[in-house]
């Protein structure tokens, strides 16, 4: 009888511990939010004591939450900026970065758009406003209608850094909340152009992208993104406020495992190459 009581108390105690340790908040990039949710779902199924809350809001939102101490994991579709690292330091946080998947940023065009390929220089011209008519890039004589993401999006920042070389977007860029909205807008606008993760595209066409004017045009596929030949590909990251431990560490290692990466591929994200995933795991 006494033994039973001890076991009971022990179980209650460990359950309480589990409940206390098993609450994980994940916040940030809208590009990653679907994958984060899928991972959380699967992980919670395997580990019933763990509660994981996943929300989006944009990479900037996630990083702000990490710096303000309101999230355990910040999902990010770009690296932290110098300024943000500085702010972290001021707050006594040493952010840790792990890449959890890859992503290619596709350039969306309307199905009927005759333009098949664009070079990085042309893309820059289009999005800074220097090129404003489709006929300048081999299309019909029509004004180019620009769609983009709100400036709290990691995709916005990545595109600005790698395509626009940090120049400002044209003021005519219509910014929409979420890649899905961009895809939707382009699918309805025959002169529209947009950008975003390849996982979101339905009803639009991808433009093949050339690194330079005389380089070969490459379409965004899992293969061209993994081998790096597609010019606008990137890592998707998880940031932590320090070195992850306990349940959080287990979650990260599971997401990087073959099983976690397979889930990513099933969701149309680009999985990490195996050796890179292994190298990213936390000891």
């Amino acid at each position: 009888m006494k033994k039973l009581a001890y076991v009971g108390i022990g179980m209650a105690f460990s359950a309480a511990l589990l409940a206390a340790s098993g609450n994980i908040t994940v916040k940030g990039s809208d590009t990653l939010v679907r994958l984060g949710q899928r991972w959380a779902e699967e992980y919670m199924k395997k580990n019933p004591g763990v509660v994981i809350q996943v929300s989006g809001g944009g990479t900037g939102t996630g990083i702000a939450a990490l710096l303000n101490g309101t999230t355990d994991v910040c999902q990010a579709s770009r690296d932290m900026k110098e300024k943000e690292y500085q702010q972290a330091k001021e707050k006594g946080i040493a952010p840790k970065r792990i890449s959890v998947a890859l992503d290619g940023i596709a350039v969306f065009l309307h199905e009927s758009n005759p333009v098949k390929e664009l070079s990085l220089a042309q893309l820059k011209g289009i999005y800074t406003g220097a090129i404003s008519n489709w006929k300048e890039v081999g299309g019909p004589d029509a004004r180019i209608v620009l769609y983009g993401r709100e400036n709290n999006s990691g995709t916005y920042a990545f595109f600005k850094e790698h395509v626009l070389n940090e120049e400002d977007y044209s003021e005519y860029t219509q910014t929409l909340p979420g890649t899905a909205a961009v895809v939707n807008a382009v699918s309805k606008d025959k002169n529209g152009i947009g950008y975003g993760g390849i996982a979101w595209a339905t009803g639009v066409r991808f433009a093949a992208v050339k690194r330079a004017d005389d380089a070969p045009a490459v379409s965004p596929t899992i293969e061209t993104i993994v081998n790096g030949s597609y010019p606008i590909s990137r890592d998707l990251y998880w940031f932590f406020g320090g070195n992850p431990s306990g349940e959080l560490k287990k979650l990260v290692n599971w997401a990087l495992s073959e099983e976690g990466q397979k889930l990513a591929e099933a969701m149309d994200y680009v999985p990490l190459p195996k050796d890179k995933a292994m190298a990213n795991m936390i000891e």
């Binding site: 600005k160 003021e171 219509q174 929409l176 909340p177």
Partner: protein, 323 residues
Amino acid sequence: MTKAMQALQFKPKSRWREFLGEKLISMNAFLALAAILLIFVFVFKEAIPLFTDPEIRAEAGLDKLLFKQEFYAGREAKWSWQPNSEVPKYSLLPLFLGTLKAALVAMVFAVPLGVGAAIYTSEFSSRRLREIIKPLIETLAAIPSVVLGFFALMVLATWLQNLLGLTFRLNALNAGIALGLAVVPIVFTVAEDAMMSVPRSLRDAAVALGANPWQVSFTTVLPAAAPGIAAGVVLGFGRAVGETMIVLMASGNAAIISLSFLESVRTFSATVAAELAEVVFGSGHYTVLFMIGSLLFLFTFIVNLGGDIALNRLKRRLQGRTT
């Protein structure tokens, strides 16, 4: 006296209970007041570093918010909203223009509709019809703005583009019409109340002088209710300026300086909604967003106050008091 009536009769059991009840109620009232005051104080407090913090003033001082700036040496000076640039740009003018354009379209759309409907229901419709129309229009106010925004984004934008052959699907016209749908019930309700509260004696006098129903409503009721109608319009304008979700979804959010209503606009409220979640607490960008919040707060406060004063005047006038 029936049993039900007896139960409703209020008889305090003791003085002590009465005292407690009274204090509880007044405490509630004060709590609500304090909450409003605290929000007020919080929003303003967060905007203050714009004037006091030298670092933030260097990044986003008042001159940077209001005047043309030469952001890059050698390039022409302009107003620009690009807060996440290498050189952050915080000009409020494009946003102000956008807010005004969207609200203006909304008013042009909503005022004739709202006031017209109010004239019809209060003056011409039968009582039964009025009891159907009034709640119906007021239900329009219950539609969540995100639904109106979604409708404008998906359906209205395509209609307008096909109808007018527009280059930009999402523009001030599109957002303004959707905003107008949200404003109509406000204009209607206030205007209708104002006209209904015009005393019977005024109408009777007009009829006695031989006026037909049109003459009664346009020469007697409308002028008498004018301050109330004006209040409805002003309150509607306040709503159009402060409304967030519809403009966020339907306006295209491009901060352009132009007077065309067929180009995209970015409004104050949509900017706060889109960007506030991302900024680091206390940064220059954060402070500017709270500055915008304070401006919106002040504006709606003044507009509502104005509307209220107009309505009070109307009541006094109709009751024949002159002070």
